[in-house]
């Protein structure tokens, strides 16, 4: 025998791995072992086969690839001895999975073993089949399994029953064959067979409504009786757990009753007694008993209404909730969540206890309790609940604050009885945990403030008071700075005093102090500072006495390294210094944004972001602003311009409104540059070319002209578009875009007359790559088109890491299937195909349009190709 193929024993290998001090050492040992196992496999030496598989199982468990051992498992299964088969089947279950084609090779061995004379071998085969069988195997072997359900040995019957569960899950059509054998299993006495049979019946009821009807009619009585016998059975040492006979069987039976009773009054009626008995008699001082009670409560909540039982169930949950054991409390919260749907009133009674659980030390319990509180909130209890939650916000863990803040904000926005209360709560949340408040939340808050003209004075004063003590919370500072800028005169003159307020004395320079502190604070980010500069500009007009001082502050930023601040500083300085006459008109209050529109827009923009990976931040570290890092997102923005109201998505409007829109597109689209900037904006939106590159020339141009003062009107228009007319800004950008989209619709591609068979198109072709699209449609669903994309490599180098991405406007929905591969051989020697599904909600009115981006690597160098496809056949 070849001494090298022998390798070490299993025990030695495990010892060697245990002795490893570092991950690198472990990898080295595993590599060596794998090499010797491969050698042994190549020599086809049967003596050490099962030892090698045992080693591979260990290696697999550690998380190393072991695919090379798969064939060895099959050989072991095919060998005659029991020990070899045993390890072979175990290896099969651990190392293989149903997706591998190797698995098909095992079907025959399984068939033989299912008919073996040795019942242990039959058991092995059943177990393996139950764990890994695929749909094809299920069809091939179902008759054998069905027969084995009547086998004389109970151990085989139970395994056959569980194996059937897998089969009917894979091939639901086969379910009817199993209904009768399954029903007969319910009459068994052997616990193993019974528990398997009950699970099989539950599963059958789920996949087949006929089976459900059958079991409901024929077996409900039987299951009730079995449960009764079990609950009243005398002490059985083999199945006893904490004084209860086989709690697992209890739970499965109760669960089956739930399936049978759901939606059927008669069946529910017949199980009332036994459920009541189990719910009252079961001991609740051990886990096993509580597990049964828990299952029982679930069933009572699900089956048809019986008032008495429901009360019993809610009481059990109340008892659970006051239990000291965290596990029980967790389960109770979980269950109350489901109970809310059937009986919200009963759950409300436990509100105080649930609220206590929100403050628990255990993260799992906290999370459950918070979810529950969230669904319990309504108009009548929102005030006390919010107060509790906000009080807790002050002391909660950092990692819980995010969740908690989001829930509080959502609650106050949804249920606030009056605006002033909403404003108060938001102020508290922002000053306490402003860093956790999402952008859209504080945007919405500002929209509310700008709509509530009678509360603006109150809000700005409250913010002013609060910012004296709380400065670290980014979104809080943003809201405060914005309000002080907008409503500065209300702050100093105590305009719009409410009865509940104490008058405060704030001088004009106090207000400027606050903004100045903000802009000089190092911990705050670019957006906040940019907002502070806008606020200063506004204050310079509202407080003429401070104008000089504000000019001083603004001028300090003319040399700032951050381009955005530098630009603002220069522009604002020139407004203050040279254009006094129009300044007050420039910095008037923002037009009020309609709340309903904003909410609608926001919902729209949320779906936008949902369909793309998280929208990247617009702020780049060097202060150069880009619309976004991914051009795909731009196209989606474009799509929202396509909607009837000619403005951009909600957050964009708001950014305009706040005067913090950092996107060059809107800065360029002033009237003075209208023709050019319109195109630029469009180019940006379609991201043909680099947006930054295009923004700088026009910005410089604009700046220089305003510095020289030669053409005062046009640059000022530019500047005013920054802050004055948000709508005009987005209009200018949107109009040409709409033209373009209309263009897609009205310029029919040439393939128009070729009938319902849609011709394939070459969607994209460059010197290195060709992409063709072929189309198919199902007649019953004309809106949906299945596109098969085929990529061919036209260059002489192979491409690796090939990724295709596509984006569509909002009236389309795109679903990309995984590609057939990610490497593309050179010179057209093969191709990658990828199919996608496009649903056109404007079918018949608009044609498809798509932007694409293809990334790949040539010799390790990343390449990127982008393009737009507008030559889709008409009528897709």
């Amino acid at each position: 025998m070849n001494p090298f193929s022998m390798g070490t024993s299993l025990r030695d290998m495990i010892r060697a791995i245990r002795a490893c001090k570092t991950a690198a050492e472990e990898r080295a040992v595993v590599r060596k072992e794998c090499a010797s196992i491969r050698d042994a496999i190549n020599e086809n030496d049967p003596d050490y086969r099962h030892r090698n598989i045992a080693k591979l199982m260990f290696i697999h468990m550690l998380g190393y690839p072991t695919h090379f051992g798969q064939m060895e498992c099959l050989k072991l299964i095919a060998s005659p001895g029991f020990p070899e088969k045993r390890i072979g089947y175990l290896g099969l279950m651990l190392l293989l999975d149903e997706r591998q084609e190797v698995l098909m090779l095992v079907t025959n061995s399984l068939k033989q073993d299912l008919n073996h004379t040795n019942q242990y071998i039959v058991g092995l085969a059943l177990c393996a089949l139950g764990n890994i069988c695929s749909a094809e195997m299920a069809r091939d072997l179902a008759p054998e399994v069905e027969r084995l359900m009547q086998f004389r040995d109970p151990n085989i019957r139970k395994k056959a029953a569980l194996c059937s569960i897998r089969i009917i899950k894979k091939v639901p059509d086969l379910a009817e064959n199993f209904v009768n054998p399954a029903a007969s299993l319910l009459r068994e006495k052997h616990h193993g067979v019974l528990i398997s049979g009950v699970q099989l019946c539950t599963e059958l009821c789920k996949v087949n409504s006929d089976a459900l009807e059958y079991f409901r009619k024929k077996c409900t009585e039987g299951v009730v009786k079995t449960l009764k016998d079990l609950a009243n059975s005398p002490y059985a040492p083999e199945y006893d757990i904490a004084g209860i006979t086989d709690p697992f069987l209890h739970i499965r039976l109760v669960k089956l009753l739930r399936v049978l009773g759901e939606g059927d009054a008669d069946a529910s009626d017949s199980m009332n007694d036994i459920l009541a008995q189990v719910a009252t008699k079961t001991e609740s001082n051990k886990v096993a008993g509580n597990a049964i009670l828990y299952e029982c409560v679930q069933t009572i909540m699900s089956i048809e209404d019986n008032g008495g039982l429901r009360v019993l169930a809610i009481n059990i949950l109340g008892k659970f909730l006051s239990n000291r054991d965290n596990n029980i409390r967790y389960v109770a919260l979980n269950m109350l969540m489901k109970a809310v749907i059937v009986d919200a009133q009963a759950v409300q009674r436990h509100r105080a206890t649930i609220l206590e659980c929100v403050k628990d030390a255990d993260a799992s319990i906290r999370k459950r309790a918070l979810d529950l509180v969230y669904v319990l909130v309504n108009e009548s209890n929102v005030k006390p609940l919010t107060k509790e939650l906000i009080d807790y916000l002050e002391v909660s863990d950092q990692d819980f604050k995010g969740d908690l803040t989001a829930k509080i904000c959502s609650i106050v926005a949804k249920f606030s009885p009056e605006k002033i209360w909403y404003i108060d709560q938001m102020l508290k949340v922002l000053s306490e945990a402003g860093n956790f408040v999402k952008d859209e939340t504080w945007h919405a808050f500002i929209v509310v403030i700008s709509n509530a003209s009678e509360l603006q004075g109150y809000t700005v004063r409250a913010l002013y008071k609060a910012i004296q003590t709380s400065t670290g919370q980014e979104s809080f500072v943003r809201v405060a700075v914005w309000c002080i800028g907008e409503y500065g005169e209300m702050l100093v003159n105590n305009i719009g005093m409410l009865d509940i307020e104490d008058p405060i004395t704030v001088t004009e320079s106090d207000a400027v102090d606050v903004v100045e502190t903000t802009i000089k604070c190092h911990s705050l980010d670019l957006t906040t500072k940019a907002m502070a500069l806008v606020a200063l500009l506004k204050l310079s007009s509202r407080f003429p006495s401070c104008s000089e001082r504000i000019k001083e502050i603004i001028i300090q930023y003319k040399g700032n390294f951050v381009l955005e601040l530098q630009q603002r500083s220069l522009e604002f300085n020139s407004i203050i210094a040279k254009h006094q006459n129009i300044r007050s008109a420039l910095v008037e209050r923002m037009p009020v944004l309609d709340e309903a529109t904003f909410v609608g827009r926001r919902a729209g923009s949320l779906t936008d972001t949902a369909s793309t990976p998280a929208r990247p931040s617009v702020n780049l570290p060097n202060g150069v602003s880009k619309p976004s890092a991914s051009p795909l997102v731009d196209l989606l923005d474009l799509s929202s311009d396509d909607a009837p109201a000619p403005s951009s998505s909600g957050s964009d409007i708001l950014q305009d409104l706040l005067g913090v829109d950092l996107s060059p597109a809107s800065q360029q689209s002033g009237a003075g540059h209208a023709p050019k900037s319109g195109t630029d904006a469009l180019l940006d939106l379609l991201s043909i070319g680099s947006p930054t590159a295009q923004s700088s020339p026009s910005t410089i141009d604009m700046l220089s002209s305003s510095m020289n003062g030669k053409t005062p009107v046009s640059p000022l228009d530019d500047l005013s578009s920054l802050s004055l007319s948000a709508r005009a800004t987005s209009n200018a950008g949107a109009a040409p875009v709409m033209d373009l989209l209309d263009g897609f619709a009205s310029n029919p591609p040439k393939h128009e007359d070729k009938g319902p068979e849609y011709p394939s198109i070459t969607a994209h072709e460059s010197s290195s790559l060709r992409m063709t699209f072929s189309f198919s449609k199902q007649p019953e669903n004309p809106q949906t088109t299945v596109i098969q994309a085929t990529f061919t490599n036209l260059s002489s180098n192979a491409y690796t890491d090939f990724v295709f991405q596509a984006a569509v406007p909002k009236f389309l929905q795109l679903h990309l299937e995984p590609a057939s591969g990610n490497t593309l051989p050179a010179s057209g020697n093969g191709s990658i195909t990828q199919s996608m599904r496009v649903t056109n909600s404007q079918h018949g009115k608009k044609s498809l349009v798509m932007r694409l981006r293809i990334a790949y690597k040539v010799d390790g160098q990343a390449k990127l190709e982008e393009g737009q496809i507008s030559n889709f056949p008409r009528g897709l």
Partner: protein, 143 residues
Amino acid sequence: MGIRFVLMVNKQGQTRLAQYYEYLTIEERRALEGEIVRKCLARTEQQCSFVEHRNYKIVYRRYASLFFLVGVDDDENELAILEFIHLLVETMDRHFGNVCELDIMFHLEKAHFMLEEMVMNGCVVETSKSNILTPIQLMDKAS
């Protein structure tokens, strides 16, 4: 029944036994095990035995230096799983006599055989210790 996986992990976080009842690639498994172990091992004795992670609910229990973690579907009875873990440990105790990490390491296949007798395709098959152990003892005698 919706058991999705059974893991045994020592207190250093090394996996000692892993049985999945659904398909995950090796990379996914490593990542999942790492995340779960980090989450569960950081919890204290007083905290509850359930952790939600991705779309799994993990029920775990600690026995000396060994953690037993069972991933289940959302609608599974958590308390029953907790009891099931205990049954698994008692069964192993009966076979190995006060089971420890090394027993499982050096008799990985036996541990798997026991688990196989108890759980099939994520469903509990057998809850009687002697029924579970009979085939294993028979095999021991034969070899």
